[in-house]
Symmetry: D2
């Protein structure tokens, strides 16, 4: 109902009422206008109807939805099932081109527009979350692990080009092969490194009180023993399970800058924490960070399948090269490299989920979600402390981990633990007791009583799951992540109380 159609409608319904209706439609278009001109999250979240209007209009702009189109190419965006077409709002061409995943598609102006908007909104959301001086983000339809791989492949290719230039003509250039990686017992990150063809070198953590932290001395030593010229990157991690804390990424960033080594941060679910955003910002302001990778599902509450790649802004990158006057130490635009490395088109589904969600929240909704998470974390801490006191345990002291909390499990007898199955004996049975009571996500680690050895990507890890070869106690972790409510915490503590009692009785 453009203004012309509204005029025609006045032949059917009184002009006065149509005019009001026409203004109402204009009001919706104005929301879109503001979005397109300000290129930021709308101040307040949109209702579903406005969101769907935008998506519908965009889909009309894609050639597969042109009225009277006849397709005689090999890729025409035809969709066989109406159920499938509907769930994608008739968007079928995906995003990107063979040249660049961030490039616009001639056949799909609408999809290209949505992709462009999404990128701008994610950029705004990152800034609101506390990430300062970030460059434009790249949203890829890959979960965190594969996105890290993509970033590392882009690094691989960049290094190959750099070294090819320097190598004597004809010779196959030898590129750096090793990636130093501060231990975290989660398989994905390690697999990303090997998938990209690098050899990972594990830097163990050190324990400070209850908390496990980056062993900078060990990192220095390893770096020197292998030789910086053989090291492609250092990969660090922020968001993680207690009692591990985030890596000391500021010190690592400084080290990387000094040594001219690429620094990639796995910030999987760190956007949701103001502290971690601050940490990343400080890292690239004070040292070198080439790429930060985070998942869309955990930070934006969408289904699994997307990741955000981001690096420091050009301003930051320029400053570095000025400071150092050393070409090698220049931070690499791995976001851009990843975008142009990506071969061919990609699904627009993950991007669409993020776009819908950010428009649904708007600026105020997003800030409320973040604020609420911080409050729930505080609430979870206090609730767990109170519970701990009541049962003679304590909350592990992990002041730098702003999301995950650990509860010591000294008082549960692990020898005579009830057992449901061979794989679920000992202290971990507590975990399955909780899961059967609909508490999902609580993790019991027999870090003391049930050390598991595990081989990941060809590397052997004693006491896998505990991030460290030894730890003085078993523990249980819970996390206060985006969307977690006080009610979730209350239910968890209630069931915990019941399970403690039952466990002790058995």
């Amino acid at each position: 109902m453009d203004p012309q159609n509204c005029d025609l409608a006045t032949g059917l319904v009184s002009k006065r009422y149509i005019n009001q209706g026409s203004q109402a439609i204009s009001g919706r278009h104005k929301l879109i206008k503001t979005l397109l001109s300000q290129r930021k999250l709308p101040d307040h979240g949109w209702d579903d109807a406005t969101i769907e209007m935008l998506l519908q209009d965009a889909s009309f702009m894609d050639s597969n939805n042109f009225l009277d189109n006849a397709g005689v190419g090999e890729r025409e965006g035809r969709v066989a099932s109406q159920l499938v077409a509907r769930r994608h709002y008739n968007l079928a061409h995906g995003v990107g081109r063979s040249g660049n995943i961030a490039a616009e598609q001639p056949k799909a102006a609408g999809s290209s527009l949505l992709a462009s908007i999404t990128s701008l909104l994610v950029g705004d959301a990152l800034q609101l979350a506390g990430l300062g001086d970030a460059g434009p983000p790249l949203i890829v339809p890959l979960a965190t692990g594969m996105a890290l791989t993509l970033g590392l492949l882009a690094l691989q290719q960049t290094l190959a080009l750099q070294h090819a230039t320097k190598a004597s003509p004809g010779a196959i250039p030898i590129t750096p092969t090793y990636v130093l990686w501060s231990r975290i017992d989660q398989k994905t990150c390690l697999k990303s490194i090997t998938a990209a063809g690098f050899l990972p070198v594990v830097i163990p953590l050190q324990r400070q009180g209850d908390q496990l932290v980056t062993d900078m001395q060990s990192l220095h030593d390893k770096l020197n023993s292998i030789g910086p010229e053989n090291i492609a990157a250092i990969v660090s991690t922020t968001s993680c399970f207690a009692p591990r804390g985030p890596d000391d990424i500021i010190s690592i960033a400084k080290l990387c800058q000094q040594q001219g080594i690429v620094h990639i941060i796995n910030n999987a679910y760190g956007i949701q924490s103001r502290a971690l955003c601050k940490l990343v910002t400080a890292a690239w302001r004070r040292g070198r960070v080439d790429l930060v990778v985070q998942s869309t599902d955990k930070n934006f509450m969408v289904p699994v399948g997307g990741a955000v790649l981001v690096g420091p802004s050009n301003k930051i990158r320029t400053r570095e090269s000025n400071n150092n006057n050393n070409n090698n130490n220049n931070n690499i635009d791995l976001v851009g490299a990843a975008a142009s490395l990506y071969p061919g088109r990609a699904s627009s589904s993950a991007m669409l989920d993020v776009l819908i969600t950010l428009l649904h929240w708007g600026r105020s909704g997003w800030l409320e979600m973040l604020e609420s998470r911080e409050n729930v974390y505080q609430y979870a801490l206090e609730s767990l402390q109170s519970f701990a006191r009541s049962v003679g345990e304590r909350v592990l002291d992990t002041p730098d981990n702003p999301i995950s909390l650990g509860l010591s499990l000294y008082t549960l007898n692990t020898n005579n633990a009830p057992s449901s199955s061979p794989s679920m004996n000992g202290i971990t049975y507590l975990g399955s007791m909780l899961f059967n009571r609909c508490i999902s996500g609580a993790r019991v680690v027999g870090a003391k009583s049930q050390r598991k050895q595990e081989t990941v990507a060809g590397i052997e890890f004693p006491n896998y799951g505990a991030h460290n070869d030894e730890y003085p106690c078993d523990y249980l972790t819970i996390a206060a992540t985006l969307g977690c409510s006080r009610n979730d915490i209350d239910l968890c503590i209630d069931k915990l109380r019941v399970c403690f009692k039952e466990y002790k009785q058995k």
Copy 2:
């Protein structure tokens, strides 16, 4: 994405691609423009996305969807459940006002617009189906029976006013009380008459060969014996189960015109038949017809719940009064009277279903549906004849019924019929055999062997279900209605063959 927003979008995606997309959006708006300016069915059906765009825009024009609206009235169109809101496209205000169900609502320009368009499209669809010289139709969210009642109440009120004018002041006017009704054994129509406070007088049918037809002589006699001044209306029926044929509505229309009696036609599922549309047209061209009522579900393939009220055009009505120079013989605008009698608002749901369906079909789709039905009827006739020959039965000869067909059941022994339950013994067991084999809608009538007496609306009917007090044989009916396919007919004949065999074996 109005043109201004498309301009803004060129900052994000190449102007060339945005321009193509913008033209594509304009193409959609042009479809709406054509609809609003031509006020007819679109030549070709719209795709779902364009239909939903129209509905969405209309809903934006209703005050309950105004952005930032604060409602402090008693009726603000608030919808509690998102599921409900979605299924109604956020349209909540219904249609009509306290004064008139066809009137526009100040708070709901969009709903009013859709109602207005629907009425125009239905008018066009009726004409395409073969109904000539019809006035503007009224779509009511009432199924056929209640819509007939509404029409009869409008008649009741019109008569009361007419007679009040003539009555001596102060006296309670005595209005005509009787409605003559050509028998059809379907409860709804009879109940409509009594529900509206009239006393029905049944005119039995007469048998001509196999076919049951209007007994004009009996109608004349009854009319004279009761006195035209005591007769409020004659109610006739077109679409019906074989072996009943449509009433001789042309003769009835002539009689009504001569006698100055209102004529109401129950044309429940007659729109789908070219022959019945022609018959109705001839009736009001050559005699008097005040109101014709048809269901939306059977004629437009939507869920139960709507009806179309229509009468002859003003031109036809004017002509009559000229011809007769007799005020009494003026045909009454019962469509208009029903619209303004309707107290208060009404659901827009039935109207919406019809609108969506007509836009989905377009002119070509609607014509194809009608054409296809005529073909399937022919196919059903031939298939049934072929089957009849093979089992020693015959198709009842009902040349005037263009929808329903009867098959004689002479060869099935009704005395020893298998029986599943007391209520399902005798020949009707054949019907339940078919239903259990997923043939729905085949009706077995023990018109000879199992006469049922039934009282409807206080009137006793011997041999109820057969439309006549006696009939020479049992029979089975099937109908070729809109949406019925050759495959349905084939399946039906197949199962019929199986059931005949089984029935005879038992």
Copy 3:
């Protein structure tokens, strides 16, 4: 995924995980089990997925959705457009049969089941809202006005039968013709009376302080002057715009019981008020009430199009006949009479909306909605009082109206009022000022300065809109209805302040 299919699935996914999943599905089925066995609102609202599971399963039970069904009847529930089918969850057969709108349909077990559940849930919701001793409710797909007409037609028919029995054989029975009606200036109710063929007799209100109340003396006088034997019913109203209060339905009920007169209450949006529910309950406990009619849209926040008909329980009705030993004074089961009067099938759409909404709320959600409304009313009262004081006006003292509030408009000069159009001059211009500022539903009545004479259903009303021939001041009304929020009230008061100022300046 019934248990058997879950078993099969263990060949594809580990038994342990499938078992958990199977239990989760059982948990959903258990919700339905509880619903079917307890036949009350669930304690807590269901999520949309469970609601849709119930609807989907029910639709599978209707013959139009049987797999491999071949339809050869005249009404097979075929739906042409997928958009239409989806929005009705493939339910197409509507509710009711030709005999009774509450009867089950053989072809539509699922639709019948949903209708039955809806009726039970509405019954529970009415009781929770404070309506005691109610009989089973009837949900009809008619808005309030047409539902009142249906009830009055059922009365018309019941009276005709009663009088036919008593009348000398052959004579046309003369039935009571008049309906006494306590004035309320809303067209629908009055039109309902005339639509059903009754002659309305208006009983003016009397003013007590600011409030307009039932004039019982006038009612007595009129009743005696017309003669009870000529009076078909008294129609009273509860929910209404201030400064009218609810009718004194307890006194009217007592009068009806004494005089053997039918009593019908228009309780259009009264379910949402605990006080009005209490009043209705008291009325039928202490006197005679035959039928109470309320809308579904205003009380249950669904789109316009449904109504609930309810009367006192059988226990109450039995008690009455015992007390009176007077057959005439027996309260009539107008709910049952309306159900069996209804000719044919009807749309299931309105019923579906109510069902979805009640399952969405559950018992706790429904009680919260009601509680919240009471709070918002109190908040609106206080906010309006505070505003009134600040501008030298006062809130009209209408202690018995629990929903609508009136604000006096003494201080606005009505002679020199700004005027946008001839129809919008004088004080009512204030209303259009508010509407243009997105305050919908605020009503300005020039009860003193702009008396409008209007003819409704043939009756002339001086000062129409004010419920009374004269009133000492102009006023504005706002209402705190279900779903109205404090924010709505705040916005309204804010804009009111602005408009007062502007109005005075001009």
Copy 4:
């Protein structure tokens, strides 16, 4: 509505009707039972309601949808926007685990089940399409290019492990670096090779008549000059634009087997062609094929974003090793390697689209789609030939390309061609004329008159787009792909005629 609930429902609706309804529900469950037990495409496509029932039940089995679940982990599948949740049927956990993308997820039994079914159905669909002796396919949420990269990375890793075993301890193993690639002018495939860190070596095509075919001699020569030990793989292509034909993958496969070289086939849209499926089957039966990659969008008509990885069955692979007694020549399970290389979880969206589509088609629908495509190809060929004759051109003789057709463009004067923009001058202007007339996908290549040089992945291609350094004429290509209709072809030829005329006039 499990049987128990149906029993309870008989208290509300007659047992007889509920029983029929209950059987109807069982009929739906039986479809699922057949699917789970036969693990093949259903004989006939399912209706949308049954598909959605399966998806809904599966989603209930995922922990994020457990009733009363409290999540305290870092990844709980929470979805913020209802729009997003609905479009994913509340499935949020994605597929795969950190260990393997094909592994089941403990928290998501339903998603795991759907993934497992999808894989089985795709396997069946491949076989029905003519791909014999295939192993189980892997569906990845990556478009073709990135899926090829994934396969090549899996190869990279496999080679690294193989060589590490053989290398002297401590030394960094040197793995084969080169990938031989038969030229096709489409960027994606080439970028896949470099993205995975390999060095591509281009093998030019040779022209046979009009058709461009694999230059086996050149391939041999290159292989020998580089040395098989330095060659990681040969990458060949089947589906492509005319006048290129599919590579001679049988000869390549034989060569690979002899030389112990990995063979990867880019079969992007080849599944839809019976001839190409036959070719792939023959290739791995008669030689060595390690991996075949195809897109889901082009072969299954879903939105861009998924790919199918498949290799020969174990039987085929075992046979080979027996035949050769040469460990090196063993074909590698790159499908399995890719699955376990994939780091972490992945989106389930692409898998879901394929599942819905295959259930929608069923076996019969899928075969009809394939059959119809073959017919449309034949129709396109004849239509184009007829057009060619009428304008003095000819259809390029490319007998081995079963999808794409080329039309010579000798008669259009390329010197004075009209020009819309600098980039659209010469013969390619014909393409933009067609696009502006809503013919999408027709490709005009100035292979003779407008040779373009382009650098892709660091390699220079003279005459890029023509697959060959020189070609004797300009041409236009059209393709008859899945879903293309005769109407599309007719429209294309019509517009072509118009454009030829206009082009010549200018």
